[in-house]
Symmetry: C2
Subunit: 132 residues, 2 copies
DNA sequence: TTTATTTAGGTACTTCAATTCCTAAATAAG
DNA sequence: CTTATTTAGGAATTGAAGTACCTAAATAAA
């Protein structure tokens, strides 16, 4: 069973966690609670948050009653920003498969892959944490 | 650098090879030539063709002047069929992330993931080997 | 009939990303 | 001040995809 859209477990965790934190504002949430709510590995989620924290999406507070909170307004945090911090920058310009050269003069997918990639990109960019 | 659409190296090889074979009809092509044309590992490509052959997409002929040829008309082989043989059946009905339960009553992606997945699916289903 | 070519398929190895483990550092609470 | 809680981050492990290796089976050509 396969997925057509490329969203890793880590990126999914990031997006769902951020939505939970947004929903729980202004109280912060810690990894333990988030992992329980999402029913995922606490250590994996902790790693994900190291990235989110280092990239300025969340502010971390250590110690008892510590945890994470949004570091900017919810509407200023797009799904795309979260996605790219975890998965890396999305490449829309080159071959969607990352090839630099090809036997085919014109891509066997025509323009469909580019069309769809652009659609996903725009969709992720449009969505943000304001609705939670 | 990340990809929004989920197409593995193996699936890409399968699609490109099948397009080359379609283009080269009625002569068959062997793994050696295909691997050279696509500039990929011969052994990896051979593995891919074992799947394509077992699933009735290509007919194999061993020995000198052997190789692979399409086992049905080019227009009857969709990109989706090739894709699913390599990646496994696409799942459109459940959560696009493969989760069975979720803390959120309604998916954080709204209906966007389903919409895009359906778009990709339909696109792959529509495309076939007739144009090569 | 013999030989060279080519696919079939099992097993093992490699590589890279995903995940886990373990210890350190920070900090609130008592 | 001490302790318990929580994040930080390096190191180790796991797992999946890709790759290589090897032998067998088929078959065309010589």
């Amino acid at each position: 069973m396969s997925n057509l859209i490329n969203i890793s477990e880590a990126a999914s965790l990031a997006l769902h966690s951020m939505a939970l934190i947004a929903r729980n504002q202004p109280q912060r949430m810690n990894v333990k609670v988030l992992a329980r709510d999402l029913d995922v590995s606490q250590t994996h989620l902790a790693k994900v948050f190291q990235k989110l924290s280092k990239n300025g999406l969340v502010k971390s507070v250590r110690g008892p009653a510590g945890g994470f909170e949004l570091d900017k307004p919810a509407e200023d945090i797009s799904f795309l920003e979260i996605y790219e911090i975890i998965e890396g920058k999305v490449n829309l310009t080159d071959c969607p498969l990352g090839k630099t050269h090809c036997v085919f003069e014109t891509c066997i997918f025509g323009d469909e892959l580019n069309r769809i990639s652009a659609d996903i990109y725009a969709t992720l960019k449009e969505m943000n944490l304001s609705k939670f």
